[in-house]
Every structure is written in C-alpha cells, then in structure tokens.
C-alpha cells in the first residue's frame, strides 16, 4: 500500500451523493484537500438520481428550515453564480386539504412556520385555484402555498457541484468501496478501500442509505435505516400552471402523494408507502403505477391523457424521528456524520454543506451550534417530523 503524500487529505467524504458532492465543493473552495469515495461508477448514482427534484424550506423545525432557506438561495442563484443550468424553477409548494383533519394539521403547522419566518400562507379554495387551476375542486378546502419553494434537476445540480468541486481541486474516486478505517488511539486516521488506503484526520460519513454500514466499519452504531419509495415521470407537455402539490391524505397502502411539473415539462410524482417498506430493495413493484395513477387523477383529472414514461424506486435513509443526524462523533475523534436525510438530501445538501464546512474549518456562524443541536447524533429522538 502506498504511503506517499498524494494519499493524504484534509478531509475524506464517503459518498458522492446529494450531501457529499456539495460538501466537497464547499470544502475544496475553502482550500481543504478533499477526497470523495463512492462505490458507484459515477457521481450521484446512489439515491440522488432517484430524487424527484423538489426543494422547499417548508418544514416544521428550525434546523431544516434554516438549512433549506440557504439551499433555496444557492439554487436560485446557481446559474448566475456558476453558469450551469440546473433546471431551477420557483413555482412554490402547496399542501392541499380535502378534509378538515388535513386542514387542521396544516393550519396548526402554519403558526410555527410563520414564527420561523417562512413565506407561506393559507389559501382558501378560490385563491388556491388561482395558483393551481387544474386541481380537482370537489371537496377542496384550500391549502398552503409557499411561493419561494421550487425544484431543480437533482442530476444536473449534483453534476454541476461535481464539476466545480473538481475545478477547486477536490478528488473523486469511483467504483471504490470502503472496507475499513484506520485509527490512531481514539482518533480517526484514514480509510481503507478495496483499491487503496488514504489518510485524513477528518472523515465525513455521507453515505446516505448505506451510512449505517459505513459507520459500522468504524465500530459505531447509527440509527439510519432505508425505506423505499417509488416514483414516476411522464412525457413532457406544455407548461401547466401548478406548484408542487402535496396530498397528505392516506390512501390504501400509501401516505403522502406529491407531484410537480419539472422545467422540461414532465410531471414527476412520488408516493410514500404506508406502512414503510424497510430495506434496500430498489426493484420496481406492480402496485405503484395503478395506485399513483388513481391518486393523481383524483387530484388533477386533466392528467388522464398524459403518458407515463418511466418509473423507479429509491431509498430514503430514515432516522427514528425523521430528522437528519449531523455532527461529530463522541466515540471516534475526527469522524463526522452527515447522514439520515430522510429523503431530503437534495434540498438540504447545499445549505448543509456550507454549515459543515464552517464547522470543519472552525469558523461557525452564531446560529450554527443551535441548528446543529436539533440534529445532534446524541439527541433523544423522541419528537416526530410533521411534514415528511
């Protein structure tokens, strides 16, 4: 095994996905010698490419709201700052209510969201139909509308981060699986892979659905378990006036159903299974399409003639309370966790990357410690995310 200086890094990130790649960009821009390792053959081939592209700050807790507000800002300005088209669109999110119980849930959250400074309002049916005229009007009670939320192409965004990170000197090693860690006393000292050994004093676990397996190699147990969701995409059609629609009514074996029209004109839709389907299985099931199609047409009858092009199934790295796990390990010095994004890696990624970079470079903003306290690996995990 080689021990030359080219194998010594300031930071090694495990996982070239929605978290790892923006983080590599932030760290390498800050001048840190950064290596990203991924078992897949190219960037974003784990769960990033499975994401549907929604980016919102409409959450129910201060940490995610703060991080995602920054992510929205980064994505909104991406093309001006970096020059790449990431298919960004700011068309808002709308959580719709067709029953009083959803109306009550959403309105209760609104109070908290307003306190946290979010630009979100309750729209009664006529106002909601102004922003989403094709919604089924029968029994529609109204819904929230947060105009600053949007969407982008997860693939293009990540690839843009990847290219700029390389320009800033970050290195990416693909098709390389982490097999173990090296320690010096209680401190992390390096990573072993099926190809080589690398040294670094800081190692960041950003392995998404595979984060628990990676942590295990360091003798650390973390509460991240993937469950799977299926999604689909249609042919492109002319622009339809519609924000991201989220329907939180449970229907047969599903909880949330959500969809939006991507910048390419395609409708992208996704179901949250209920109960969760735990495990790593990412093979397509036969139940998804008929169920998703029925839920879609119950919301937008106009979509009956749009043709479905492709479906896929991806993993959500879930935590016990539905919030990410971000922070230093107490057990092993130098081992940082940026895991358990619960299916929101894309929207958390760029904001979180900057935050982690500030922590690593020891230049935190005043509110960073507070933000991180909500996401601490050592929290009690006894609350529950209301807007999964």
């Amino acid at each position: 095994m080689s021990k030359n200086s080219s194998d010594i890094f300031d930071v090694i990130i495990i996982g070239a996905g929605s978290i790892g790649v923006p983080l590599a960009l932030s760290l390498s821009s800050a001048g840190l010698k950064t290596l990203v390792l991924d078992q897949e053959h190219s960037v974003g081939q784990g769960s990033n490419k499975k994401a549907i592209g929604g980016v919102r700050a409409t959450h129910s807790d201060p940490a995610k709201i703060r991080i995602c507000l920054r992510s929205l800002e980064i994505m909104r300005n991406w093309q001006t700052t970096y020059g790449n088209d990431i298919e960004w669109q700011q068309r808002g999110y709308s959580f719709v209510a067709y029953r009083q119980q959803e109306e009550r849930t959403l309105k209760a959250l609104l109070v908290k969201q307003h306190q946290l400074g979010l630009n979100i309002d309750w729209l009664d049916t006529p106002d909601l139909l102004e922003v989403a005229p094709d919604l089924n009007q029968r029994h529609l009670l109204g819904g929230t509308f947060s105009p600053n939320d949007g969407s982008c192409s997860p693939l293009l965004f990540l690839h843009a981060c990847y290219q700029h990170a390389i320009r800033c000197g970050a290195q990416f090693h693909f098709s390389e699986k982490v097999t173990g860690f090296k320690f010096a006393q209680n401190k992390i000292a390096g990573v072993q892979t099926n190809q080589s050994d690398y040294r670094a004093k800081i190692i960041i676990n950003a392995a998404g659905a595979w984060a628990a397996q990676v942590a295990n190699l360091a003798g650390i147990s973390i509460q991240v378990h993937p469950d799977s969701h299926e999604a689909g995409i249609t042919e492109p059609v002319k622009k339809i006036l519609i924000p991201m629609i989220v329907d939180i009514r449970p229907v047969s074996s599903s909880a949330n159903f959500y969809f939006y029209q991507h910048k390419t004109g395609q409708i992208i839709f996704c179901l949250t299974p209920s109960p969760n389907i735990w495990g790593f299985d990412q093979q397509e099931t036969s139940e998804f399409l008929p169920l998703a199609a029925q839920r879609m047409l119950a919301l937008v009858p106009r979509f009956k003639n749009i043709r479905v092009r492709r479906t896929w199934r991806g993993l959500y790295p879930m935590t016990p309370d539905g919030f990410p796990i971000v922070g230093w390990s107490k057990e092993v010095e130098g081992f940082f966790r940026a895991v358990g994004m619960c299916g929101q890696g894309l929207m958390l990624g760029p904001g979180l990357a900057e935050l982690i970079c500030r922590i690593v470079t020891e230049e935190p903003l005043p509110e960073d410690q507070e933000t991180l306290s909500y996401l601490s690996p050592y929290r009690k995990f006894d609350s529950e995310e209301k807007l999964k």
Binding site: K238, G265, T285, Q294, K304, R309
Partner: protein, 697 residues
C-alpha cells in the same frame, strides 16, 4: 387527390377494405378501415408529422413499430403514436408541434384497476417463434396467453413476400413468409387453450413477478405467469450521420411495413444502407412495389447477406457499393439525396470518393439487436423465463420457428407436463438454420449446348434445400447431406422434363432452364419472374444479364407464363444465342442509377449527427463527454439527456456504445445504462383503470 397506394403487386393481393374519412389539419382524407394513422397519412404523401420540441426539426415515421415515438400526432387533442393507432372515422388529426397541450378535464373519472390474473405460460410476441411455441403448448393442452403489440399476428413474417430458405423437411422452406404467418396463425387458433391478445403490449416486468400489459391499447392488466417466454423479436440498429433524423430516413422494418403490410407507396426513389439479408430483401420488395432503388451501400468489402439475394438485386439493375458508408442524408424537411463514400480498412471515409444519389427515402438496414430486456428482468426477479427467436439470437425466421417449437416443449417439460423429449437432432437442425453464409464455390461455366437442363446459379453454402424436393425426377441433389451444401443437377441422366418447377420454386430465384431441343443455336431460357407483368410489354425485348448483373445482350421475350400449382412466380421465356444462353441469370428491371460525383464533402460533419433521437443529442456532445473521461452511460445520460426520452435508450444505447468503440474504448470499461419500466409510454388514465365505457354513460 392523388393517393400513394400500391394498386397492383406481383405477390400480394390488394385487399378489399372499407373507406373511412379522417381529417388532417382540417383537410378531409380517405383512409381504409384497419390501417394505421401513419399509413393513411403516407398514402396522402404526408411525411412530416410534426416538429421536435427541442430543435424544431421535422419528425415522421422512423421505426413504424411502436418503439421510437418519432411519429407522434395529436388525435382529438391526445398525443398518440400514429404507427400503432388505427385510423377511425372522423378522427381529427393534427401534427405534434413541440410539446402537446393537454386537453382540459374537470370530472374525476371512474377508476377500477383490473385484478391480476394467473396463467401457466405467457408468451410475449406473436412472430414466428412465439406462434410456434404457442402451437406446441396448445398441442399439449397447456393454458397459455400470447400477447402481441400489433393488430395482426405473424410478426415480421407478414412483411416477407419472398419464399423462405431453410429446410423443406423441418420448416416451411419454399413458402412465402406472409403465407407462413397465415399457416402458423391458423394452426395456433385451432387450440382454444391458447388465448391470443393482439394490439396488446407488454410494458414491464415487476419484481413481484407480474407483467404489466396494455391490453387492446385501452386497459392495463397485470399477468402472473408461472413461466414467461420472451419471443419479442429484435429492434433495428441505426447509424449516426448528418440528416439522420429527417423524415423518410427509416429502418427496413418501417419500409416493409408501409409497403408490404399497409400497401402504401412511401417512396419513389430509395437508397439502401446495409447489404445484409434485410437490406437486400427490402431492395427486392421495393422493386416489386415499383419503387426505384437508386443504390445500396455496404460498409464491408462483401455483402453479409446471401449471395443469391445480392445477385438478384444486381441483376435487376441495382448498383451495390461495397466498402462504402453513408456520409449524410441531404434535404431540409425531407430527404432529397444521399451522399456516400468509400471507406478505408479503418472505416474512415476516403476523400475524393464521395458520391451523391437523388432519392426521396433512405433505408437503414445495418443489423438487429435482440429485444432481451424482459428476459433479463424476469431472470433478475426469479421468474422462470425462456427466450426464442430473434429475442434469443438474431437469425433467419426459419430458425426462429424451430427455436419456438423447441422452447414450447421445453416449457411444457419444465412445468411437469408429459411431453415427449425433444429429438436430439432438433438442436442441430436449429444450429444449421442459424448458420451464416458459408463457403463460396467457383461459378461453373457450362459449355453444354444440347437437350434441356436447369442451371443452378447457386454457389454459396447456405441452409436451403427446396430445389431438391421440387424436381419430380429427383435430378437435383445437394452435394452432401448437409442442407448448407450447394445443389447439383445430375447431367448424367437425360431426364429433365422441362416442368420448370425448380425455376419457379427456388427461393433465391437462382435457377434457370435452357432448352436447346428446338434450336441449338438460339435456345430458349426460362427465367423466374416476380414483378408486375406490365413491367415488360409482352414479346418485347429485355436486357439479359449474368449472375452479377453484367449485360449479356438484348433478347426477345417469347412468353410470360404461369405454371400449374406454382405460387405466384411467373416464368419468362427468352430466346438467346447459345454463346451466352447458359449464363443468363436474369433481366434488368430498372436502369442503374449513376451517382452525381460530389468531391471533398468529408469534414467533421459527423459531430452534428443525432445519437439520441428522442432528446436530439448529437454525436459531438457524446464524444466530448467520452473524451472528458465519462465511462458510465448513466452519467452521460445525466448530463446530455441521451436515453431519457420516450424510447428509453432503445435506439441510442447501441450508438453510444459504437462511439465508445470509435474512441478506442473497449466496452468492458463502459458501464451500461440502467433499464427501467415502461417499455412504451402509457396514459395515466389507463394505468388508473379508467373505464371509458362507464365514463360515457
């Protein structure tokens, strides 16, 4: 209004069909009941069906096989594939200009997804392999469902007007493909235990081992078989060259579908790229439909198809350019000409060898890829699966029939049904039927000028033996017992009775008969003839040619005759001098088309060529990604969108692989793209189980 339909054909009957009317951009057009919208539009010389949303380039028919989505139109405001959808009375059809605008709808429809249903065997594909397997399963009484995406069974057999090669004993050698389709369909339908769904597309195999099928184009069903047989055939390979997305650049299958199935006349002047059997036969089909063939280019130094097919085409007046490739299809919204050039041993075009031909259509026949994704998925998900025919291995239809039979019995045995073991020699017969053309024997120059005898212009070893069964005196035999050996006439005997059955029945049209009995100086040559008779005004003179198309002379036609019991091949009697009578192998049907010499066109034009038709991604874009180090096609897809379009990478993946090879990167270093459902796009309403009938109540 002039219609571009085939109104007479030497082989195909002109069907009696009911007239209906459709509207194209408000204009009332006559169509036939049972024909596709695409064919109805082609019959009115409408070749541009819309313009691509990305670059505004014109689009039209490309695959005519439901695979590519280039032929989309709006029917009553809904986007549909015009090559699959049948024309119906009163349809209002509009071109698809850019992206479709969804028609409004406000009422939530009644939705009731169909319950999955179980069947022991599901066969995907009703071509030669699927039909043959279904027959074997039917014979054994095994409940089977056969689904096929077309409106008629037979697969590509229904496009084949020529007699099949192969073994007379084992398959239907000597019978025309269209007739084999009818025979197999008839036999299958005699087994009611086999259910047949036409116009039904298999869309996806799911991990719970259910197969999603779009039944009769209108409802979504989940089928749960115990065993799956994939007999879905093949898809055509394509090429990257500037102009390759122009309407009227299309695959051989599309051309044959338009001409031989739908009896429309898609072209006046055709140029063919590819000298395999598919290209050669398509050229013959074009001539039979009275379409001029301006030429054929083949990249290899020799055509890959059977020599008898090539010889036949050259004799009819088609120039074949070997070691030539296409440089560009030229024209603004339709093909106006094609430019080809000679290539060197490294397949690079040689400057100064460019040739341009006027033509209005270009047919690409550069090979086939197995449709094996269903088989791969089924195996991945643990569903017992078999594959047969081209879906398993690309070969002649005779081999597909035989492999279907074998797989049918193998499936029965797998399911535990008491089926007889498969005879050992079946496997060797199948291998023989799959053989590529073999050794070429020297042409024998016969200096024999008396009595009457056939001349077998057949010097290449191919799996074919009908001639040996045609001679009532048994005077034609194969050189060895292997059906691939070349046939011989027994000159020792003096028993040829001049029945001309060998002349009319040879699938390669490679047998002539020379009769010296009346006039040893001016014998009468019998030639097979499969064209409309009015091509030759009777008793007129024709240009006679040798096996390779070299002119021998101008000779009078004495007679055009039909022999009893023969199937549509006519016999011409031509008087010719004994000096070359034995060498006459055919007559010229069209004058060879001289190229327009257009020097020094070669530049780096090929970067403009489109690789991904759906998303209009150019070869230059893909090449620059490969040069930047991309080896994962998934990454290329991410950046360029190649493979993200309607067809799901069915057409571009092999082209991208080809670009990798051209860049000197072995495919072992290339990561293949992920293959996901659905095979073709399906409306959400159908997946949701909308019951349109209930809807309209």
């Amino acid at each position: 209004m002039k219609e571009y339909r085939i109104t007479q054909h030497p082989i195909l009957p002109i069907p009696e069909r009911k007239h209906i009317h459709i509207y194209w951009q408000g204009q009332r057009l006559t169509a036939y009941q049972g024909e596709t919208i695409a064919s109805a539009l082609f019959a009115h010389h409408i070749h541009v069906f819309g313009h691509h949303h990305k670059d505004g380039s014109p689009q039209g028919i490309f695959c005519a096989n439901g695979q590519c989505s280039q032929c989309m139109v709006l029917v009553d405001s809904k986007p549909v594939k015009s090559c699959m959808e049948l024309a119906a009375e009163g349809q209002r059809i509009e071109p698809l200009e850019g992206l479709p605008n969804l028609p409004p709808a406000t009422e939530i429809p009644h939705m009731q997804p169909a319950a999955p249903f179980q069947v022991p065997v599901l066969i995907i594909g009703g071509g030669p392999a699927g039909l043959s397997a279904g027959i074997e399963l039917g014979k054994l009484g095994i409940p089977t469902l056969l689904v096929d995406d077309k409106h008629r069974l037979g697969g590509k057999l229904i496009l084949q007007t020529h007699r099949f090669f192969g073994s007379s004993r084992a398959v239907y050698a000597g019978t025309r493909g269209i007739d084999i389709a009818t025979l197999l369909q008839g036999e299958l339908e005699s087994y009611p235990i086999v259910k047949i769904w036409t116009n039904s597309t298999a869309l996806a195999i799911f991990s719970d081992r259910k197969i999603g099928v779009l039944k009769d184009g209108s409802s979504y069903c989940l089928i749960e078989p115990q065993v799956l047989l994939v007999a879905a055939g093949a898809r055509e390979k394509f090429l990257t060259f500037p102009g390759n997305t122009l309407p009227s650049v299309y695959g051989a299958g599309a051309f044959q579908t338009l001409v031989n199935r739908d009896m429309v006349r898609p072209a006046d002047d055709l140029f063919i790229i590819g000298g395999g059997n598919v290209g050669l036969i398509a050229g013959y089909h074009a001539l039979q439909a009275d379409i001029r063939v301006a030429g054929l280019a083949e990249a290899l130094p020799e055509c890959g198809g059977y020599k008898v097919h090539k010889d036949k085409l050259m004799r009819l007046g088609v120039s074949i350019y070997t070691s030539h490739t296409i440089l560009s299809a030229n024209g603004r919204d339709h093909v106006e000409s094609v430019t080809i050039s000679k290539i060197d041993s490294a397949c690079k075009p040689i400057a100064g060898t460019e040739k341009t031909f006027d033509c209005d259509s270009i047919l690409i026949a550069v090979g086939l890829d197995s449709i094996n994704e269903f088989y791969t998925k089924a195996r991945q998900f643990g569903l017992p699966a078999f594959s047969a025919g081209d879906a398993e291995e690309i070969a002649e239809a005779s081999a597909a029939i035989f492999s279907g039979r074998i797989k049918g019995i193998e499936i029965a045995r797998f399911l535990g049904f008491p089926a007889n073991p498969i005879p050992e020699d079946w496997y060797s017969i199948m291998e023989i039927l799959k053989s590529k053309p073999g050794k070429l024997h020297a042409e024998s120059r016969l200096a024999f000028h008396q009595s009457v005898f056939p001349i077998l212009h057949c010097f290449q070893e191919i799996p074919c033996d009908p001639c040996t069964t045609l001679c009532p005196k048994g005077l034609i035999t194969l050189h060895t017992k292997d059906i691939r050996s070349v046939p011989e006439f027994n000159f020792e005997s003096d028993n040829c009775i001049h029945c001309e059955k060998c002349v009319a029945g040879c699938p390669g049209l490679a047998i002539t008969l020379v009769d010296y009995r009346n006039d040893p100086q001016q014998p009468i040559v019998s030639l097979p003839f499969e064209f409309n008779q009015d091509v030759i005004p009777s008793l007129n003179e024709v240009i006679t040619l040798d096996i390779e198309g070299n002119v021998l002379g101008i000779n009078p036609v004495l007679k055009i005759k039909r022999i009893p019991k023969n199937d549509r091949t006519l016999i011409l009697h031509i008087r010719a001098p004994k000096e070359y009578a034995n060498r006459i192998a055919g007559i010229r049907i069209q004058d060879p088309v001289p190229p327009i010499i257009t020097p020094n066109l070669i530049s780096n034009l090929s970067d403009e060529a489109i690789v991904c038709r759906c998303e209009r991604v150019s070869a230059g874009e893909i090449r620059s990604l490969i040069r930047a180090g991309c080896r994962d096609i998934n990454e290329i897809k991410t950046i360029s969108r190649a493979g993200m379009g309607a067809c799901g990478g069915k057409n571009c993946t092999s082209l991208i692989n080809r670009l990798f090879r051209e860049e000197g990167i072995p495919l072992s270093e290339v990561i293949a793209p992920t293959n996901r459902p659905l095979l073709t796009e399906v409306p959400l309403g159908i997946l949701a189980g909308i019951d349109e009938a209930k809807q309209n109540e």
